[in-house]
Point group: C3
Chain length 682, copies 3
């Protein structure tokens, strides 16, 4: 990372939007920031209307004032370009800058991100705004980081995007003959004979290959805006690092692994569900950390409830701190909130904040925030330490949509399948990276690839050489169906690497909700089950539903077989030795306990074992480490205190970092609380 400023402390702060507040409120707020232990504030995320209320007329009075005030109070600034919210005059100047939604309708300007990301007027103006900001604030001593745009996941289907899409496609395919062939447009006489015949896929998904490339084009369109701003900024402030805050993987609009090289540090916004929040957040922390194999910033979270979910309960006492420590435990080096003070109007006015409408700071939420702020000050040593993962789960965000467009069962879902395979590793406290299938896999002992529906160019070779060189690969059903254009290669299922798995998949069977099957283990001798901690609790027969495949062995052995229906007795799960490694294939959708046994067994053969296996369920444990330094995070996700025995932990001797005491024997961790340990040297 470019800046040392970022590395000297765990950042703790929030978005602050001075355009919403009069000076007297701002002054009160800075006092409260100090009280809460805040050391960084994200400024100007949507402030364009304040600083350029009329074209080319700037008013920096308030922003200057806030910058000064923060500087005087020793609070750093994450400075945003306000390009997620162009002001009204720009849309008035050219109403075609308003985006067109997927039904072909131009939106009105009543919300943020109402613009077309490819519009030339927009592009000109964001370059200008970025430059003006960099020139004005680039030398500020408390400028920590640039924050470009905000959750930049726009989609637009206007004529301007249509023209850019044609250019994008020409760059990718060169000729429309190649495009026709790549997308199989001969089918249904869709072949194009002139680039002008290509229009956005308005009206929802209509052709999977076109829609897939349109999504990629949208990510690139958003990224081009980011890069345009970055270009202006780095010319002026080459030493200030740059980020943009990614949104959750539930939204397609940014193909993160393509953006990541352009960011100096990854940041993301975490709004977990109330129930089962832990695995949801853990997965995404692991994903965003893995993007650059480096610590990341939690750029936004809510202090308590949000406003936009179907139901928005308050975070129970302790829960917000616990979620913050979970982020740190998995690689975060900033804990930031949206937003410092609760907005008075608009659709977000009931999104919780540090300072709330009613009691401002005189409430349990603010007290918890302040306590956390002051605790985080004790964690500087953790900065720049790493999570060392020997296991990776493959994840391709484009499949969040592509699988849906192609699914032959309502109940097949990429997200939940990935979670089903991630969950047992998470619960066993095995460190996991979440990586794109084109990344370098050579450092991992075990790779899990749930429903890797698409094999983009390079993926089969990457997987083959990974196994060849000794890796263990577990892949699930509905994988390897298509190439990078969503077109099936001759040979079908898995074909470019079906020899790696030693199987031939003959049929896929998408079950109706009232249908199911059962499977049981066979010939598991290859898995050294004596090592498995779960072996004593094994049931014999497992339910599968939603999906089944008819698999023929072609060198592999069946380690589990179906018990019912017309493929009874045929392989359900297979294992194949290939090169120095092994490839497993799971052709059904089994219940969780089966997946857990399988994955822990495979890990065990690679000598990857659960961390602190004696710790009770619901206790999350991670290690961050560096040369000579180890930190252990023990998180109690129960609504009740839990007792742990230090003897269960790895390592020799540990010190409680918050209490600054050595620990030994049995220790109680409060409900929704965290124990942070530093390994004592020697």
């Amino acid at each position: 990372m470019k800046s040392k400023k970022l590395q000297s402390q765990v950042l703790y702060g929030a978005d602050y939007n001075p355009e919403q507040w009069p000076i007297e409120v701002i002054e009160r707020d800075v006092v409260l920031m100090k009280e809460a232990g805040i050391n960084a504030v994200t400024l100007n995320v949507f402030g364009w209307g304040m600083i350029e209320p009329v074209e080319n007329c700037y008013d920096f009075n308030k922003l200057d004032y806030v910058f000064d005030l923060l500087e005087h109070n020793g609070i750093g600034v994450v400075l945003a370009t306000p390009t997620a919210a162009p002001p009204s005059w720009m849309f008035q100047k050219d109403p075609t800058m308003l985006k067109v939604n997927e039904n072909g309708q131009r939106v009105e300007h009543w919300s943020r991100q109402a613009y077309c990301p490819n519009h030339s007027l927009y592009r000109e103006n964001i370059r200008n705004m970025a430059r003006v900001l960099a020139e004005r604030y680039g030398k500020r001593s408390n400028l920590l980081l640039w924050h470009i745009n905000n959750e930049c996941i726009l989609h637009c289907y206007c004529d301007c995007c249509a023209a850019e899409f044609r250019t994008w496609l020409r760059n990718k395919y060169e000729t429309f003959e190649r495009l026709n062939d790549s997308w199989q447009l001969q089918q249904w006489s869709l072949a194009k004979t002139d680039w002008e015949q290509i229009r956005p896929p308005i009206g929802g998904m209509t052709h999977t290959s076109a829609s897939l490339d349109y999504q990629r084009f949208m990510s690139d369109s958003n990224m081009q805006g980011f890069l345009a701003e970055k270009e202006e900024i780095i010319r002026i402030t080459p030493d200030i690092p740059i980020t943009t805050n990614f949104y959750s993987i539930d939204f397609l609009g940014q193909i993160h692994h393509q953006w990541a090289p352009h960011l100096d540090v990854i940041s993301w916004d975490s709004y977990p569900p109330h129930r089962d929040y832990a695995v949801w957040a853990a997965f995404q922390h692991d994903y965003f950390r893995s993007l650059k194999q480096a610590p990341f910033l939690l750029m936004e979270q809510a202090s308590s409830n949000v406003n936009w979910k179907p139901y928005n309960p308050a975070k129970r006492p302790g829960m917000m701190s616990l979620q913050s420590y979970q982020a740190v435990a998995r690689g975060a080096e900033a804990i930031m909130y949206f937003q410092f003070r609760q907005s008075r109007g608009g659709v977000e006015k009931y999104h919780s904040s540090l300072v709330s409408h009613g009691t401002e700071s005189d409430n349990r939420v603010f007290r918890e925030i302040s306590k956390l702020g002051h605790e985080l000050e004790k964690l500087d040593k953790v900065l720049q330490t790493r999570i060392h993962a020997r296991v990776a789960v493959l994840f391709d965000i484009t499949l969040m949509w592509l699988v849906n467009w192609n699914k032959t069962s309502q109940d097949i879902d990429y997200r939940s399948t990935v979670t089903a395979f991630y969950r047992p590793l998470y619960e066993a406290n095995i460190a996991v990276d979440i990586v794109h299938p084109l990344e370098d896999l050579s450092g991992y002992d075990v790779i899990v690839a749930p429903m890797l529906y698409m094999f983009e160019e390079g993926v089969p070779d990457n997987l083959r050489s990974y196994v060849e060189q000794g890796g263990k690969l577990v892949m699930s059903y509905n994988s390897g169906m298509v190439n990078g254009c969503d077109v099936v290669e001759y040979g079908g299922f898995l074909r470019p690497i079906d020899d790696v798995f030693g199987i031939i998949v003959e049929e896929a069977d998408a079950l109706e909700p009232n249908m199911s099957n059962r499977i049981e283990w066979r010939g598991k001798s290859h898995i050294d089950s004596s090592k498995s901690s779960t072996s004593s609790t094994r049931s014999e027969i497992y339910r599968t539903d939603k999906w089944g495949e008819v698999v023929r062995l072609n060198g592999a052995e069946a380690i589990a077989v179906y018990l019912e229906d017309y493929y009874a007795g045929q392989p359900a799960v297979t294992r194949n030795g290939y090169g120095q490694g092994e490839a497993y294939y799971v052709s059904a959708h089994p219940e969780d306990s089966f997946i857990r046994e399988l994955l822990l067994d495979v890990c065990s053969t690679a000598e990857v074992e659960p961390l602190c296996p004696k710790a009770p369920k619901g206790v999350e444990i991670t290690i961050r480490e560096d040369e000579g330094q180890r930190f252990m995070f023990v998180l109690n996700h129960h609504a009740a205190p839990i007792e742990i025995d230090v003897g269960w932990l790895e390592g020799a001797a540990w010190k409680d970092m918050l209490q600054q005491t050595s620990i030994s024997g049995k220790v109680t961790i409060d409900a929704y609380s965290t124990l942070i340990l530093e390994e004592e040297q020697g």
Copy 2:
């Protein structure tokens, strides 16, 4: 009321649309009207195409004929302006007169109310039509009442409306700086710097403040049409009263309390659900009666089933009469149907009528209609008597939408919350007015304000002075969140009057469906429970769900507390003495039995007691009264006969008005039947 004609009899009649029928059918129909006891007919509701088939070419032959025929038969006319259904030539003349729906799409002319209410061509033509009708029919001896337009709840989002909306906003806010501030448009750089930047909120709710004002603007747009017509009419027929038939509160498009002063008499259209119809209709009768604190007209109901609900059962024998008497019991002085003869085509052809397609009048429905018609003739004495309510429930129709746009829980619903607080009062036969929170409240002993989410300007002062002067106010959770622009005031929840309640609300917690809490009574000594008729059946602990709030006492006492979750032990329901009165706050969503106990206890402390508490459940009882006169309506909503004891009734001696007999001892009321009593003098 201007006209004496209306006050001489209970109006009994139906819409009649001569444009649908040949002369021979019309002649048959008038015979049937007489048979049914009909004394008033609503004419011309959608008849524009008949009387002005081509621009400026009028054909009044049939309408004149019908007017004559009715006059000769002694039947009065409620004359409608047909402005809810402009004819095809007008849309052809200027297709931009077709309205644009909320998705931005212009409709085609295949239904009524297809017009833009702000279009100049429409406005010119309705003025002209109103004048022409008044000139032609204003002197008719049997003209009882003007009926302008029909269920006038249009919404349009066209450019013409956009321009009018800007004018409306300029009138309200004067400068766009004030608009920006009022709506908090600095947020997300939505601030307007030119009025032309303002467009309708197409695409659904996008900004709550803009959408709220757009709904108000739509009500005003509809009302401007009404007023334009009224202006033409009263110039010509100053002595004929004017109404327009309101639609159910389930539809926003008319903010009734703003329209009410412009109507001489309130009328509304009642289409209750098959199940639980009684409380549904009672609430709305009370609401529409309260608008002018005067009797109202039931302008439309169905003789049996309608056609447009998901399921449309026939009204069981007696049910239609019972629903009619319920209207009279709660203030109606007209019982009118839509429509006299069942239409042959279009979407309403299976809407029941007085004369049906098949057997015309030879069926049980017509027989019941005739019986009712002749019974109503005996109720002239009831005319112009009043319901005297000492309790009011506050209701603001704009919250039917505004709460939805802002709700942080799927399960929070303004309508059902209001019903939950109205139902126990209804079931106890306590007379209730339903009033807007800006109305004069000084006459009420108890005010119930369920989920009064918005405190428009004037509301806090109105409530404060009501309590100060001795009133008892019960308010529920999710109240007082925003000002009249849907913007939160500094201080948050209830703040302008939280001192009246003596509490501070710290957090709101929108529970997921699987979450709940429990509450129990504490310190109810202030409520003289010895007076409560329900005290013997009290349970100790009550379930709450959907919502909870963390409340701090600031002078109030907790009369019920939470038993679970992190706010266990904290106040759930509070009471505070303020000035001469008392203010109660219910921070949770409790089960019905709790609400009943609370409200009846509060009423009891104000010496408002259930009417005839010994009457069995499902028997609705009301009193209409005037100087020296009292009438009691006893309605049996059971599908079986029920016996009542005259001794349970109030007053000394009663006479059955329909039978013209004195009653005493035990009386049986048939299934779905009504006993109407006149108090015998002396």
Copy 3:
């Protein structure tokens, strides 16, 4: 039929789309066709882009090559005009050729059938293409059949269609006065005073009469395209028969009985559900066979799963063959698949085919296909034999929509009501025709008319004279409500022929889901129940729900009465002697067992008896016959083998056609298998 070629063998084949495949794949495919026993291939269904890639520039190289190859291999060709998929250049030439959907939005060209069927550019080009194809391939020796367009069910709402619709209406109604009257447009001032005022019903169903005629107009628009192509073709190849493949009755876009006279042979595409497929497919086979009272072609089916249903299980082993034999058993003389080789891209890439992506022909599906192909070669004798049905079920495809637009209960559904009345006949193996109510009914002994909501002109007379002349007619509730314009005739329910039923229907009662009634038999003496095979298992009381009607007898007798609610004791089912025949009316929606008893009893009085009543449930039996020849199909729909006794069968002696052995005694039919018997002569 014109061509003898079609009659010499049971056609067995599939769609083949050479534009998707390189030459080497095509050559491999023809080898596989031979292996599978294929004797016919449907070519060129979507191949326009290949053969006319640029306007007026043709490239027939590949199509010629495939034609040659097939000819050399003795495989016939069903030659399609590719007019369901115009190429991109045509849409580019005039973008208004893109259709406009029912929301008024013009589609983009990302799918087939993107065109406006009324566009002049489209019409010119399809005529040209048809002529070019006929000239080029009309003399080919292996050309069996023309296949025009594909599942031609387009809907468009563009300005071009608007203009054509006006012309269509002028042809039908002559004057707009007659149109206004026919549609009852006086109501709501919708009457038109200029043809230009008429626009398509954009925005969903808005006026039932207009929407009904628009649907008819759409069927005609599609048919005009078909007829234009046909005109070109028959001029050149008068001896080659012509078809177009109909889609399932679940889609409105073709009013089949109007198209049927223009086809030389009926063909349709069958994609049954996984569960309860047998009655679904049987009904449609009967329907499409009845259109011309002649054998038909099964033009498309899937070899296993499709891709577009919510869940797409594989067809279990045997199921595909069984479904194929079911088609033959009910009149099919071709078994064709979509498609021979699985597409590599687009939305249909997971639709099963004969040759699959992965294992191509090396799998159980292909093996089953091959087995079936070679078995079908043994069934030539069955060609041109008939099903002799003495019972007909009336079916009007326009009611699939019209009933929905007019239904007063969510739960009323034309499709499922028709199935409820068809199912007991199907299960009793009684041969049934499915005919339009305007067809000649004189040949049937029993007519069942479930929910015949609309009596088009001619229908009442047709039904009356059918009963008069001795027919037995069973009609259900919600019948005879409207005339052919969806307008109620004076008199209402059934009125034009209520004297035939001897009843007057007074009320219809659409029940809520929690409501029901019960009925029981009365006075069934007229039905000779001693003949009924089901009499021993009768219950006494039957549940009804969804619907009830209040019926008065006017000459009829009640054979079942209601037991509950306000119409308890009144007629539920009636019988009336009229002329030489009898008319039954079912006013309620009874449970299945009641319908079965009623229909089998009525059949029994007409001496129509179940076929092989001793055969177990789930065994479908049909007879195809001709002078002197009888073939019996016995289909086992169970997932397990079943034993049948030859003694149960009709006729004297039977031979197994596939095994070429005589059968006697007990015979086992495998799971999902078929026994095909030829009656031995003498």
